[in-house]
């Protein structure tokens, strides 16, 4: 289990990047890290990986402060991809595996399994620079996974991938999570995060503004009613809570909380009720609400 406690980081010229970020990712959890550009996702990840030093706060791994030796077992995919452009794919993956302490035999086996899984078998002897960006990203992922990491931190792993590659990557990450590895990744593709993740953390301006499972976040948002009335009497919704919008000859009323039966009675009196139901907010809506 990885715990982040009260991380603070200020860059030169007083720019506050992190203002007390805390969250925890237990074994086997897929944690989606979302937030606007510059919110602090990358900075947090870089601190966990030791690329940056926090001004304050701790990174706790299995109950104790994270050490270099433990971090060596982590897999990391940085936001700005880094590979040796002129090195061949297979050799590159091997090299990082060896640096992580794998023997020659183990590294060969792990590499063959990974490149097969990621569809790189035919490119194994090509130099990285000759690959498409999508394939380079697969190599980057292979580099992060080669030593069978005990924790995965991936900064925007899905950006720039085609839908097939997205599915492959999602499946690979799920496998690792099922194997008990905490997986943390950031993404701007909120539908994807909603689909894949067990838990989500939303950062805004260096603070964790919401975190928990998607269900918990939805519950926290409150129940939301949506009523569609055709040819309503004008002014029927006066005095009711919520937002009224027009869609042709229909009125759409969205109400958070409140007395649903009272709303229904007023709608029936007002006109022809086409739909009436409790809506579950999407992650996009939760996100907008949280960072607003």
């Amino acid at each position: 289990m990885l715990e982040i406690r009260g991380l603070r980081k200020t860059f030169g010229a007083g720019k506050v990047a992190l203002d007390g970020v805390s969250f925890a990712v237990p074994a086997g959890q897929m944690f989606g890290f979302v937030g606007a550009n510059g919110a602090g996702k990358t900075t947090t990840m870089r601190i966990v990986m030791g690329v940056l030093q926090a001004d304050e706060g701790e990174v706790i791994w299995n109950g104790r402060a994270l050490t270099f030796a433990e971090r060596r077992t982590f897999g990391y995919m940085p936001e700005e991809r880094g590979l040796y452009q002129k090195m061949r794919v297979g050799e590159q993956i091997d090299y990082f595996g060896r640096l992580h302490g794998l023997g020659a035999g183990a590294v060969g086996k792990a590499r063959d399994a990974l490149i097969g899984r990621l569809g790189l078998t035919e490119r194994v002897n090509d130099t990285v620079e000759s690959l498409s960006l999508g394939n380079q990203q697969r190599v980057q992922l292979a580099v992060a996974l080669i030593h069978d990491p005990e924790l995965l931190i991936l900064d925007e792993p899905f950006s720039g991938l085609d839908p097939i590659a997205v599915d492959v990557l999602a499946e690979v990450l799920h496998e690792r999570a099922r194997g008990g590895v905490p997986v943390i990744f950031s993404s701007h593709q909120l539908e994807l995060v909603e689909r894949l993740c067990d838990a989500v953390g939303i950062v805004s301006a260096g603070r964790m503004v919401a975190s928990g499972t998607v269900e918990e976040l939805r519950d926290a948002e409150g129940r939301r009613l949506r009523v569609v009335v055709r040819d309503p009497k004008s002014g029927w919704a006066d005095g009711l809570p919520g937002e009224l919008s027009k869609d042709g000859d229909r009125d759409v009323l969205t109400v958070v909380g409140g007395d649903d039966q009272a709303v229904l009675r007023r709608a029936v009196e007002a006109g022809h009720v086409e739909s009436f139901g409790v809506e579950r907010p999407t992650l996009v809506e939760i996100f907008r609400e949280a960072v607003a």
Binding site: R46, P78, G82, L83, Y95, F96, R98, L99, A144
Partner: protein, 369 residues
């Protein structure tokens, strides 16, 4: 240590396998071998083709034992004149009285002909001339010009071989920093292993280059016969040049690696290396000067001051006789300087290499943790 060796192994494999490495190795080896061989082509023994009409052949072979002399006879002066004008012979001697030349005569050939003629006439008069005996009462200067030539070669060799390897270190550091590979590398290894492995690995590559060039030069020198002019202690000169290359490379590579870690883009490498280049060019300039004046006080003093000593001392060793204690003292000081540079440079590298973006200053890097 194993992390360092893995990094070194990658550097060696990557470099040795490139076509550029193989080509530059071949070209530099051929070039050095060729230069060592060159004296044979440009500076071979004199060769004279002489024509004769009547009279006796002048005994100039005895006066110039190394020269290759060929005589041709012509029936009359007209034929000899044509031969001179056509360049079939350099000059033609007519009846042991006149010499036909095409324009000015070669000075040395003129002297030889006059002397031979004089001896022939004196000999004909029954007088025997005893040649003067030459005896040097000064220092043995037989090898002076050879030593200077070798010292010049040592200067150029150290200059190119140190600089080329050092630049590869600097570029490699920036490649890893700029592309953020370093962020992944430093999860599994320490900064000193990464920088140390790079310096060590590229040092091995540079050493292979140096050995090939030195070997090619020596083989060329032996094949061309130039090696017979080698001064005594040539092996010592070669060993010292190679040993000083190692020290000089280690010093400048550590300096270049740490300075390069301050920038994130290849375009900035030249700029950030300027202080190092200044030190290096001073070393080069003074060592060039020392190859001609190895006993000048400036050369003598700076041959003890690191890092200048790394280029000046081997040049002094080649150009003149240097006491063993002087070499050992200078070497010891250089080793200390290398160790200090590795330590301070390693610290700069460790703190700067993850801070991508704008160019950093050494002072701010050392101040902050």
């Amino acid at each position: 240590m194993s992390g360092l060796l893995m990094v070194a192994g990658r550097e060696i494999r990557t470099q040795v396998r490139t076509r550029a490495f193989v080509i530059s190795l071949l070209v530099s080896a051929l070039l050095t071998g060729g230069i060592a061989f060159a004296p044979k082509w440009f500076d071979g023994p004199d060769e004279y083709n002489l024509g004769r009409v009547g009279g006796q052949e002048l005994a100039i072979q005895a006066l110039a034992p190394d020269a290759k002399i060929t005589w041709k006879t012509y029936p009359d002066e007209g034929a000899a004149t044509t031969a001179v004008l056509d360049g079939d012979v350099d000059v033609a001697v007519v009846d042991s009285k006149r010499v036909l030349t095409n324009g000015e005569i070669d000075d040395e050939l003129g002297l030889l002909l006059q002397s031979a003629n004089r001896e022939a006439q004196i000999g004909a008069a029954g007088v025997t001339v005893t040649p003067l005996e030459m005896r040097s009462v000064g220092a043995d200067t037989r090898y002076e010009s050879a030593r200077q030539g070798i010292a010049t070669v040592v200067v150029l060799l150290l200059f190119f071989m140190i600089m080329s390897s050092v630049m590869v270190v600097a570029m490699g550091v920036v490649e890893e920093k700029g592309s953020r590979i370093v962020e992944i590398l430093l999860i599994s290894i320490r900064p000193w292993q990464l920088l140390g492995g790079k310096i060590f690995g590229l040092g091995v590559v540079g050493f292979i280059n140096l050995t090939a060039v030195v070997a090619a030069g020596l083989v060329g020198a032996y094949l061309s016969g130039f090696a017979t002019d080698f001064p005594p202690g040539m092996a010592g000169i070669v060993v010292s040049a190679v040993a000083w290359w190692i020290l000089g490379y280690a010093f400048f590579a550590a300096l270049a690696g740490s300075l390069a870690s301050l920038v994130s883009r290849q375009e900035e490498v030249g700029n950030v290396l300027q202080p190092m280049m200044l030190l290096f060019l001073i070393s080069y300039g003074v060592s060039f000067f020392a190859s001609a004046s190895p006993d000048h006080p400036v050369a003598e003093i700076l041959s003890f001051v690191p890092p200048f000593s790394s280029m000046i001392m081997p040049v002094r060793v080649a150009a003149s006789e240097v006491a063993v204690w002087e070499v050992l003292l200078s070497g010891g000081l250089m080793v200390v300087a290398v160790a200090a540079t590795l330590m301070v440079g390693g610290r700069v590298y460790e703190r700067a290499v993850l801070r991508t973006g704008r160019r950093l200053k050494v002072s701010e890097v050392l101040r902050t943790k």
